[in-house]
C-alpha cells in the first residue's frame, strides 16, 4: 500500500499513532517505526503533540516515510494506530480512502462504517496481559504493523534495542518487549495468513548513511560547528534541549555551559563571555526573549557580539508552551527601548538549523551587533531524515580585531567611526586595548557624552552596520528562492512554513498552477534588492505565517508599500500543505 500523500506526488506513507500518554508507550511506538523506516533507507519526517497535562493526557505521534526527502508532515493519514477511543474519534476523518485503521479492540468500539478504509481490530491489552506484561500492549501493536506491512522483524528488534537498551535493566526490558512484538506479529499471521496485505515503499538504490535528527539537535551541532564555546541558558520549553545537548558536548572541547538563575542572567553571562572574546550565546523561547529585551539593547549599544536563539512557542505570555507559533518576529526585530540595531535570522528547515548557525555567529562577530536566531517548536522537536552535515560548507568570518600598531598612536578608540560602522575590537588580555564597554552614549573612546552631535552620529554609525551586513547576506545568499519566476503569484515567508510550501508547489504544478517563492533567512535587514526584483512581476503575494497579525507581512507592507495577502494560522499547529495549495489556487482565480 505505497500511497501518495498530501500533494506530494511521491510514494510515501503516513502513520499516525495516538493514545493516552498515561498508559505509556505511544511515542515509543512511533519512534520505533521511524527508526525502522530509517534503517530501511527511507526518508522520515515525524511530528508529535505534547500533552498539556504534566503526566497523562492524549498524545499523538505521526511518522511519514518516503523514498524522496520530505518537507512536510502530511495532511492525511494512511495508517491510523488507535490505542484508544479518543484517538479514533479525533483522527478517523484524516484517514484516506484506502487507508487502514489498526485499533485496540479492548478499548475502541467501532460504530461507523468503514467507507472504503480497512479496519483491523487487535485485543492488545488481552494479548499483553496473556504475556504477563500489560505495559507491552504497544509492542503487540508494533508487531502487528510489522506483519501488516511485511516489514523486516530484525529491524523491529533493532528498533526496540535502540529504544530500551543501554540502561541498567535494559536487557530484561528488551526481552519482554521483543516477546510482545512477536506475539503481535503472530496474531496478524493467525488472522490474515502469511501474506502481508500492505507494503511500505521499497528502497532499491544505495545511499550514504543519513541522519534522523531534530531541529534542536541540528541547531546545537550548528553551534558547535560555529566554534561557539560559551552557552548560558535557563530551562524553557521547547528550548531546554539546546542547553542540555551542549552541556554534554561543550566540556569535551573546553567550552562552558552555565545554567543561569534566569534568562536575564543567562543573557548577561553570554554577553560578558563575548566581551572576553569567546563566541557566546543563549537559547530561550518567547517569555525568555521578552526578559532579555533590555540586555539585547545593551549588546547593541555596547556593540558586543551575542547570539540569542528563540525557539518560538505559542503565546502570548505562558500561552501553550508545547505548541508552535511564529509570533516573536516583531519582538525580535523591534523589541528594545529606542532604536538598537540587531540582526534577525530564521532557519527554514532542520538543515538550516545547522548551516545557518555559523552564519549567525559570523554576522554577530563581524558586525558587533546581536543576532537573534529564530526557530520554532515544531521544527525543534520533530525528527526528520537529512544528509550528514557537510562541514566544508561551514565558513568562519570573525571579529575585526584591534591592532595597536595599525591604529597609529593615541589611545584605543573602541567605538571609532568607520565607513561600515564597524570598529576594530580589542579583547581583555590584549595590552593597550583597555576600554570600557559603555551603555551610555559615548565618544569613540567610550567616554560617556550626551551631545546632539555624538548621539546623532552614533545612531547612524550603529545602524550602518546593518547596511554593511547586506554584503554578507548577499555573498552567502541567505535566502531560498524557487518555483516559477514567471508566475504572477508569489509566496514570501519565513521559517519552517517553507516545508508545506515546497510540497504545495509540487502538487500545484500537477494542476498546472505556478507560483514563485522567496524565503529570506535574514529578516532584519531584509534583502531589499532581491525582494524588489522578486516583486516586480507579482500580482498577488501570499505571506503564510503561524501568527495572528501577519508580522512579516506588515514589515513587507511598510517597506514595499503594496498589499500582501496574509495567510495566518494561529492554532498552535503547523500549516497543512492543503492550506497553502488552497491559498495559491484562490490567488490564481482572482
Amino acid at each position: 500500500m505505497a500511497t501518495s500523500n498530501g500533494q506530494n506526488g511521491s510514494h510515501d506513507l503516513v502513520l499516525r499513532v495516538g493514545g493516552d500518554s498515561a498508559a505509556g508507550g505511544i511515542v515509543a511506538t512511533g519512534e520505533i517505526f521511524a527508526y525502522m523506516a530509517s534503517l530501511a533507507g527511507l526518508e522520515v519526517y515525524t511530528t508529535r503533540t505534547i500533552p498539556a497535562e504534566i503526566k497523562g493526557g492524549h498524545v499523538m505521534y505521526q511518522m511519514r516515510a518516503a523514498l524522496e526527502p520530505l518537507t512536510a508532515q502530511g495532511d492525511e493519514v494512511d495508517v491510523l494506530l488507535a490505542y484508544d477511543e479518543e484517538t479514533y474519534e479525533r483522527y478517523s476523518t484524516l484517514l484516506k480512502p484506502g487507508g487502514v485503521l489498526v485499533y485496540n479492540s479492548n478499548d475502541v468500539k467501532l460504530n461507523v462504517k468503514s467507507e472504503g478504509r480497512r479496519h483491523v481490530g487487535i485485543p492488545m491489552h488481552d494479548i499483553a496481559k496473556s504475556l504477563s506484561f500489560a505495559r507491552g500492549y504497544n509492542m503487540v501493536a508494533v508487531g502487528a504493523l510489522v506483519k501488516l506491512f511485511g516489514m523486516d522483524m530484525d529491524l523491529a528488534r533493532r528498533g526496540i534495542e535502540r529504544r530500551f537498551g543501554g540502561s541498567k535493566r535494559a536487557a530484561e526490558t528488551v526481552t519482554v518487549n521483543i516477546a510482545a512484538l512477536e506475539r503481535g506479529y503472530q496474531y496478524i499471521e493467525e488472522q490474515l495468513g502469511k501474506d502481508s496485505p500492505f507494503q511500505l515503499p521499497q528502497r532499491t538504490d544505495e545511499r550514504e548513511g543519513r541522519m534522523v535528527i531534530s531541529g534542536n539537535q541540528a541547531l546545537s551541532m550548528g553551534i558547535i560547528a560555529a566554534d561557539c564555546k560559551f552557552m548560558a541558558g535557563y530551562p524553557i520549553t521547547p528550548a531546554s534541549e539546546i542547553m542540555e545537548f551542549l552541556a554534554g558536548e561543550f566540556p569535551k572541547i573546553g567550552g562552558t555551559v552555565i545554567q543561569a538563575e534566569d534568562e536575564i542572567a543567562a543573557c548577561g553571562m553570554a554577553l560578558g563571555a563575548s566581551f572576553s572574546g569567546v563566541r557566546s550565546m543563549t537559547a530561550t523561547s518567547g517569555p525568555g526573549l521578552a526578559l532579555m529585551i533590555e540586555m539585547l539593547g545593551h549588546a547593541s549599544m555596547t556593540e558586543t557580539p551575542l547570539v540569542i536563539v528563540d525557539v518560538q512557542r505559542a503565546g502570548p505570555s505562558t500561552g501553550m508552551p508545547t505548541k508552535v507559533s511564529q509570533g516573536d518576529l516583531r519582538l525580535a526585530c523591534y523589541g528594545g527601548n529606542d532604536d538598537g540595531p540587531r540582526i534577525v535570522v530564521a532557519a527554514t528547515t532542520v538543515e538550516d538549523c545547522f548551516y545557518l548557525m555559523p552564519h549567525a555567529f559570523n554576522l554577530t562577530e563581524k558586525y558587533q551587533t546581536p543576532v537573534i536566531f529564530m526557530s520554532d517548536q515544531d521544527m525543534a522537536v520533530r525528527v526528520q531524515t537529512i544528509a550528514p552535515f557537510d562541514l566544508s560548507r561551514v565558513v568562519y568570518e570573525g571579529r575585526e580585531r584591534y591592532e595597536p600598531s595599525a591604529n597609529g598612536h593615541g589611545p584605543y578608540q573602541r567605538y571609532l567611526d568607520t565607513p561600515s560602522g564597524v570598529s576594530p575590537m580589542s579583547v581583555p588580555g590584549q595590552p593597550g586595548g583597555q576600554y570600557t564597554a559603555e551603555g551610555l552614549e559615548h565618544y569613540a573612546s567610550g567616554a560617556p557624552v550626551f551631545s546632539v552631535e555624538m548621539h546623532t552620529n552614533n545612531m547612524r554609525k550603529r545602524a550602518r552596520k546593518l547596511d554593511a551586513a547586506l554584503e554578507y547576506i548577499e555573498r552567502h545568499q541567505l535566502w531560498e528562492e524557487f518555483g516559477d519566476a514567471q508566475s504572477e503569484i508569489g509566496i514570501i515567508g519565513w521559517g519552517s512554513t517553507i516545508g508545506p510550501v515546497r510540497e504545495a508547489i509540487q502538487s500545484l504544478a500537477d494542476d498546472g498552477m505556478t507560483v514563485h517563492v522567496f524565503y529570506p533567512k535574514v529578516l532584519m535587514p531584509l534583502p531589499e534588492k532581491q525582494l524588489t526584483a522578486f516583486l516586480k512581476n507579482k500580482k498577488t503575494v501570499i505571506v503564510p505565517e503561524m501568527n495572528f497579525s501577519g508580522q512579516l507581512a506588515e514589515m513587507l507592507q511598510a517597506k514595499f508599500l503594496r498589499p500582501f495577502t496574509k495567510l495566518n494560522r494561529y492554532g498552535g499547529v503547523p500549516f497543512a500543505t492543503r492550506e497553502i495549495v488552497d491559498a495559491v489556487r484562490a490567488a490564481h482565480q482572482l
Partner: protein
Amino acid sequence: MTTATMSTVSTITPLLGRAKLKPNDLKSDIKPIWCPGCGDFGVLSAFYKAVSDLGIPPEMAVIASGIGCSGRFPAFVEAYGFHGVHGRVLSLATGIKMANPELLVCAVGGDGDAFSIGAGHFPHAARRNVDICYIVMDNEIYGLTKGQVSPTSPQGLGPKFAPYGEIKAAKSTPYGNTDAPINPIAMALAYGATYVARGFSSKPKEVTELIKHGLTHKGFAFIQIYSPCVTFYDTYDHYKEVTKPLPADHDTHDKMAAMRYAYDSEHLYLGEYYIEDRPSMAENLKGLRAKSGSEFSMDALMERFKG
C-alpha cells in the same frame, strides 16, 4: 585581619606582581564625575592602591558594573571595563571570568544595583563560588536617581526623619520609608559566599587591604563598603560613630560567629567576617571537562543520529 586568603590557589595567582605600576598609573583618562566628598572617591583610591600593590597588569583586569553613581567606577580605571545595565553586573562578571579564567574580574556597584534590582543574582554568584570580587559601595540611598530609599535605607527614612544622617531627598518616601533594611552581611553569609567583609570609605588603608584580599580570594568575595552620599544622605558622622573593627579574636571560619556580629545591635563591624575554602566555579567547571573526557569529533556526533 588575617591574610589567610592570600595563600590559597586563586585563579589570579599567576598575575600577581607582573606589573610595576603606581596607583596613579591606574587612573584612566576619564575624570570621576562624582560630587566632591562622595565616598566613592575613597573606594576608587583604595582600588588603585590595591591593584598597584598586587602588581596586576591593567590589560588583565576587568571591572564590570551596573548603573548608579558607583556604576561609573570602571571608566575611571585603566583596565578593561563593562558598564552594564542596572542590576546585572554579577552575570556579566560571571561570563567574563568563566570565558577567560586568567583574567582578574571585579564587579562593582551600588546598594540599589546590588540588593534591589540585582538581588536575584547575588545568591547565585555566591553559591556558585564564582571567582570574582564583588565590591558594593553602600550609601543606603539611590544616588544617581537623586535620593530615593534603597534596600539598606533605615526604616522610617524620610524628609522629616533621618536617624543616621542628613537627608536631602527621600522624595519617594515623603512620610517615611515603610520597609525594614536588609542586612547584606547576613545575606552573603546565608548565600554561602566564601569571603565576606565590610569596609568604610573613610578608612582607606583598611579598605585597600580588604580589596587586596577580595581580589586574590579563591572564589566569590563580597565586600560591602559604606560609601556615603554627601549630596542626598550624608552619613559620615554616623558611620564614624558606630563602626568598629571586628574583634581581633574573631574566628573568620566560624559562620555563626560572623552572623552574630552581622546582627550586632550596637555596632557596625568592619573587617573580615568570614572566609571559607571551597572549590570555586572555575575549578568545578574544569572538573566537568575532566569528567567529560576530551574525545570529541563532529563525525562521531553525527554517527549518533545515523541508523
